[in-house]
């Protein structure tokens, strides 16, 4: 996983609530057996017209947001399916940070596993940032994970954000969870032995 320390980039406003993972990446894209190449399908139903051409009004089809690396959106972003294809599509497009008043749990976790930082801020703050992303002449924000702060265009006061310390650590270092957990294999072995003694029915699947 690519480490995340400081991200400087254009932020795109997407003022919609309950954006579900089917909207982020429709199911027909899920037939892939790869992680890459999903950026073209990101927000497909919003981004393209019937004939496959770009919908000119959609934010990611307009300059400068076409080059967005940050997305600012409404509450409960990423609800629905557990598909990790949603963060893969964002990442493949180039978006590495999503700011919203709230996220669905599975999507939120999936982001961290892929070097994407989801930031939760109060609705009023998100609305303010969204307005700046829409109207600032050069809507470039800087997300500093080390300092837990968002620097805004036009010199407005920086915004502090909270992040789970362990998740922050893993993002900053680009750590692979599986590798970390396998360092604790002894503890897993002991747990399993105890479980086998106390709940033996869980270890004899008569298929």
């Amino acid at each position: 996983m690519e480490p995340f320390s400081k991200l400087e980039g254009i932020a795109a406003p997407l003022p919609m609530v309950n954006v579900d993972t089917d909207k982020i990446i429709p199911a027909h894209w899920l037939k892939t057996i790869e992680r890459s190449g999903l950026g073209v399908g990101l927000f497909e139903s919003l981004r393209y017209r019937e004939d496959g051409s770009e919908a000119p009004d959609f934010i990611l089809n307009r300059e400068p947001w076409r080059r967005a690396r940050i997305l600012i959106t409404g509450e409960n972003f990423g609800c629905g399916s557990s598909r990790e294809h949603a963060p893969w599509a964002l990442l493949d497009y180039g978006i590495r940070c999503v700011i919203a008043p709230s996220f669905a749990d599975i999507f939120f976790n999936n982001c961290f596993k892929n070097g994407i930082l989801p930031i939760v801020l109060p609705r009023e703050t998100v609305d303010a940032l969204m307005a700046e992303a829409e109207t600032a002449p050069d809507p470039v924000f800087t997300v500093d994970l080390e300092g837990q702060v968002i620097l805004r265009p036009g010199g407005n006061a920086p915004v502090h954000f909270e992040v789970d310390p362990f998740k922050r650590h893993c993002l900053l270092e680009g750590l692979d969870d599986v590798g970390l957990t396998l360092q604790k294999v002894g503890k897993i072995d002991s747990y399993e032995e105890k479980s086998r003694r106390e709940k033996p029915w869980l270890f004899r699947l008569a298929a």
Binding site: K23, I33, N76, G80, E84, S102, T181, L182
Partner: protein, 468 residues
């Protein structure tokens, strides 16, 4: 000393291997279900790092999302779907995981076959790369959906890193009116708490109504916990749970069964256990429900009308309502029973079990699907299909004009050939009415199996209570 504990806390505490200072827990996973869509990249990850599957014996795989529901004897025509199913088969062979292939009678939707095989057991932790894993909570198991990176983590380590969620108790008290079933109960709950109401929580469903429901009904309710934002839903295991599991192929037998049941009886929440949130619903107020919009929280009684966005004060929510109505092709104020449909889909991990099919058969017996309506029945598994055929249900449904299909996820998410065309309107027993969910431009209304049957007969939404 700890005080009275919830069912959730008992299972969680029993599975914590280690808790870090910041509260992140390393949680042991007892059961892992795998399907073809969210696993290929996880197996690839194992191969790249030279890792093995820690407990193939606690892992069960089945292809369900991509499989066609028509004759399968000649394989899958769609090449990308076929490659994904073949990739699962190859991965399972390489890593020693048991798999039910599309021609195996045990094949079906992953959340139908887990309970059916007795792979799902009370007091366990169960995960799958699928958000509807919450279904298994009906057995008093802590079951939740995970992403592909976490699938790889479980395959390699049989554990997950998780923060302890909060708890919510939802009690449904009183008695359900005739014509109102488990699907209406969960839609009513989602309508009440909203699609993010359960975010960060595990929901325990309780109360007279939940205790009175069959295992199938409890599964329907737990299944849609994720539509209320909760990763997991739970129901306390009881004699009904044990009766359902007894004799299932992968359930314990003999002395082990006795030992397991004794343990399972200790699981229900202790009297006086505390929850972070509590919600009570009065069952007598629940009517047969229909969704009007593109979020599962957009519910309205069948006797009601399409709501008016002008009455919503929050501008973001109003915009969402306007967008939903435009997508759904509906005008505010339209009576629900005046909405005509094109398609009826009976299926999905929410409502494709034997009880659901029996309900539909009871309503359509001796009646006909309205002219011009395409009506599909997709049983949840090969075994459900077989049982329905033994009971003559397939005959009743075919005679009424339904298509009787092979098991799979089918039109719930349109990854196989079963799709809505743009603008087509569907009465669906599935779980999500998102834009494009059942096919690009398709319009989904979520309903119970009984309401789907009534809609099939009338060609528009109809109050099932007049068919009782």
């Amino acid at each position: 000393m700890s005080g009275p504990k919830t069912l959730f806390a008992k299972i969680w505490d029993d599975h914590v291997i280690e808790e870090q200072e910041d509260g992140t827990c390393l949680l042991y996973i007892d059961r892992h279900l795998v399907h073809e869509v969210t696993s290929p990249q996880a197996f690839e990850g194992l191969r790249q790092s030279g890792r093995k599957v820690r407990r193939p014996d606690a892992t069960l795989a089945v292809p369900d999302h991509n499989v066609p529901t028509t004759d399968r004897s000649r394989g899958i025509a769609d090449e990308t779907s076929r490659i994904q199913v073949e990739t699962l088969e190859r991965n399972c062979a390489e890593f020693g995981i048991q798999l039910f292939d599309p021609l195996d009678i045990r094949q079906g939707i992953v959340h139908v076959i887990g309970p059916e095989q007795g792979f799902t057991l009370p007091g366990t932790t169960i995960v799958c790369g699928d958000s509807h894993t919450s279904t298994h909570g009906a057995f008093g198991a802590l079951a939740f959906g995970i992403g592909t990176s976490e699938v790889e983590h479980v395959l390699a380590t049989q554990t997950l890193l998780q923060k302890r969620p909060k708890t919510m108790r939802i009690a449904v008290e009183g008695e359900l009116p005739p014509g109102v079933g488990a699907k209406d109960v969960i839609l009513a709950i989602i309508g009440r708490i909203g699609t993010a109401g359960g975010t960060g929580h595990v929901i325990e469903y309780a109360g007279e109504v939940v205790r009175g429901l069959s295992m199938e009904g409890r599964m329907t309710i737990c299944n849609m916990s994720i539509e209320a934002g909760a990763r997991a839903g739970l129901v306390a295991p009881d004699d009904k749970t044990f009766a359902y599991l007894a004799g299932r192929p992968m359930a314990p037998k003999g002395a082990l069964w006795e030992q397991a049941v004794a343990f399972w009886r200790t699981l229900p929440s202790d009297a006086g256990a505390r929850y972070d949130k509590e919600v009570v619903l009065d069952a007598s107020e629940i009517e047969p429900l229909v969704t009007w919009g593109t979020s599962p929280q957009d519910v309205v009684p069948v006797t009601g009308r399409v709501p008016d966005p002008a009455e919503e004060s929050d501008p973001q929510r109003r915009a969402a309502m306007e967008r939903a109505l435009s997508y759904m092709g509906l005008e505010p104020g339209t009576p629900i029973t005046e909405i005509r449909i094109d398609t009826v889909f009976i299926g999905s991990c929410t409502n494709a079990r034997i009880e659901d099919l029996r309900t539909v058969a009871r309503i359509v017996e001796g009646r006909r699907v309205a002219p011009g309506i395409r009506a599909l029945v997709v049983p949840g598994s090969g075994l459900v299909k077989h049982q329905a055929e033994e009971e003559g249900i397939d005959r009743i449904l075919r005679d009424a004009g339904f298509e009787w299909r092979e098991p799979g996820c089918s039109m719930c998410l349109a990854m196989n050939p079963d799709k809505l065309a743009p603008g087509e309107r569907c009465a669906s027993t599935s779980n999500r009415n998102f834009e494009g969910r059942q096919g690009k431009g398709g319009r989904t209304h979520l309903v119970s199996p009984a309401m789907a049957a009534a809609a099939a007969i009338e060609g528009r939404f109809a109050d099932v209570r007049k068919f009782l």
